[in-house]
Amino acid sequence: SKQPGGDAPPANKRLVVGFSQIGAESGWRTANTKSIKDEAEKRGVDLRFSDAQGDQENQVRALRSFIQQQVDVIAVAPKTEEGWQEVLEEAQRAGIPVILTDRLVRVDDDSLYVTFIGSDFVEEGRRAGQWLADQTGGTAVIAELQGTPGAAPTIDRKKGFEEIVARHPGMTIVKSQSGNFERSKGKEVCEAFMRSPEGPQITALYAHNDDMALGAIQAIAAAGRRPGEDVLVVSIDGVRDAFQAMLDGTLNCTVECNPLLGPQLFDTIEAVRRGERVPKRILTTEGVYDRSQVTAETLASRQY
């Protein structure tokens, strides 16, 4: 049968790629899906797309069905890091190379996947923290809106941010609660923050994604304080609504987490098919956007 990424594809046969997406829990995720689908179409790749509807089990099942369908390459955006050993071994036995996007997996043997394309959540947390430290000179009373408990981005974005906070004695996190990555929960939880005894002292809000920050901004305003001025707001993702908010002056900074992985992913896939060696870790190009940099043109250029 096939060698993992070995032989060059016959010219007449279309490249078949199976891609397993986590679900559609946010606009970020849909942009990610769209980028991959569009790129596949552009390059004439036969993309077998599977949406797991938020359930990692469905992802595992999708991978097994890709193996049955004898696709050429499998790409997967894993929901959590754990739980991939067995199915990746099966893919390896079937000679299908696997590329990870967006999140890494933890397996005994990292030859089970070819490469990982995506951002580093810990690094994103660090960047958000660093921005805040730079902006405030290292003194801030911070409220943190976490993502879904136990999820990889939640754990890592918290970890990275806390690393920076630990380095600055003037920065303290006084409130930290999950807003489930949802705009409405972000708002509800932030209202509780503002109302709490510590509420009046809070000078900064760190949200694990833009949606929660956008909800929180409304809560801060409703509590009679100016978001972006009295309370600095920093979040992660860089969706279009966040840029709009920066233009409005209510959001201070967003750390980009680029969902537009399509081109990079298919470049890599083709490289793998050609038998080239690819690095084990391919970082996506991502920026940190401060509201001072944002203009109407930046907003217009945002694709998601």
């Binding site: 099942r61 754990e82 050993q85 933890r106």
Partner: protein
């Protein structure tokens, strides 16, 4: 044969017929669909769902409902992973998890009976509490490495026409068979059916309602715990965020398999059919391969609806639709208490 064709088996038979249709349709439409590999994947991937669903079938047959399955599976999976992480042999975690699952189930059953509380509320509370307990045990995914687990997934599979049937699939089939025997051929099984058919009459006929209720929930807890161990061993991890919403999948499988939510009617074998139908629907969507999230939801819904309509129509042809004397406006059965 006549007993098999009895009117209350019709929904299950209809489910089997539709499952066959789905499989044939898939084979015609997609290359590689009808393969032994897909079959063994299906059985392996849904093993833990089916094991949990066997327990849920008993609960629903007894006229109850168990919303705590998802949390229970996640909790016991985490417990198993946690124990293995502390140096236990994976096999040694099985009795511990089963005992704890059964005890927790029995506790819920006990509350339901002792305070005459709705099962919905008690098991909803159980669902919340167990999810929190999972986080308390370990607040993020916990991977485990153990030679036994590698051996299980690589070497303990049963060869099956060119593919390999995972050991967990064999275990699942055994549990389903055992469940079917317990439900259909033991006194306990008869009591469960009686309790679901009419708790009042069952009590009047000498069925001990309390004992049976507690036993049924304990059984469901044990099944969910076994499912948890299977899950942990297949994933080689425990995950506190895993399997949110599994309860709906499980209940849907039970109901699709022909068991009435009102209790007293249904079968364990039907439940396996229900699980497989959900699995085949998912497989069809994966093979279709071009549905994004929104269309995946819509397609799942439409397939389910088509399925329910067909099942209803087939069963209706057999006269199941108007059982009893009340032909006029027979409203569908009661929900569990």
């Amino acid at each position: 044969m006549r007993a098999l064709l009895a009117s209350r088996n019709l929904p299950s038979l209809a489910a089997a017929a539709i499952l066959a249709v789905l499989v044939v349709a898939g084979s015609v439409r997609f290359e590689h669909f009808a393969s032994v590999g897909n079959l063994s994947n299906l059985l392996g991937d849904y093993a833990f769902v089916a094991i949990a669903a066997v327990g849920a079938t008993f609960v629903i047959l007894a006229g109850g409902i168990d919303l705590s399955v998802g949390s229970m599976v996640a909790f016991t999976a985490m417990l198993a992973a946690w124990l293995v992480d502390r140096g236990w042999h994976p096999l040694a975690t099985v009795p511990v998890c089963l005992a704890i699952g059964a005890a927790l189930g029995a506790a819920m059953g006990g509350l339901i009976h002792a305070f005459a509380l709705p099962a919905f509320i008690v098991t909803l509370a159980g669902m919340f509490a167990l999810r929190a307990a999972t986080f308390l045990l370990h607040d993020q995914p916990l991977g485990i490495v153990h030679p036994f687990l590698s051996w299980m997934s690589r070497d303990a599979a049963v060869p099956l026409g060119g593919a390999a049937l995972p050991a967990r699939a064999v275990l699942m089939l055994a549990v389903v068979a055992l469940g079917a025997i317990v439900a259909g051929r033991t006194r306990f099984g008869r009591r469960v059916y009686a309790l679901g058919g009419s708790p009042r009459s069952a009590e009047a006929m000498g069925v001990s309602v309390g004992t049976t209720t507690v036993a049924v929930y304990a059984l469901a807890g044990a099944c969910a715990a076994l499912a948890g161990v299977v899950f942990a061993s297949a994933k080689r991890a425990g995950d506190p965020t895993a399997l949110v919403g599994l309860e709906l999948t499980v209940i849907a499988a039970v109901v699709i398999g022909g068991t009435l939510l009102s209790g007293g009617v249904g079968s364990v074998g039907g439940t396996l059919l229900g699980v497989l139908i959900l699995g085949v629907i998912r497989l069809l969507i994966d093979f279709q391969g071009n549905l994004n999230a929104a269309w995946t939801s819509v397609a799942t819904g439409v397939l389910l609806l088509a399925f329910a309509g067909l099942q209803r129509a087939l069963a209706g042809l057999g006269g199941w639709a108007d059982r009893g004397t009340g032909g006029a406006a027979r409203i569908e059965p009661r929900l569990p208490r």
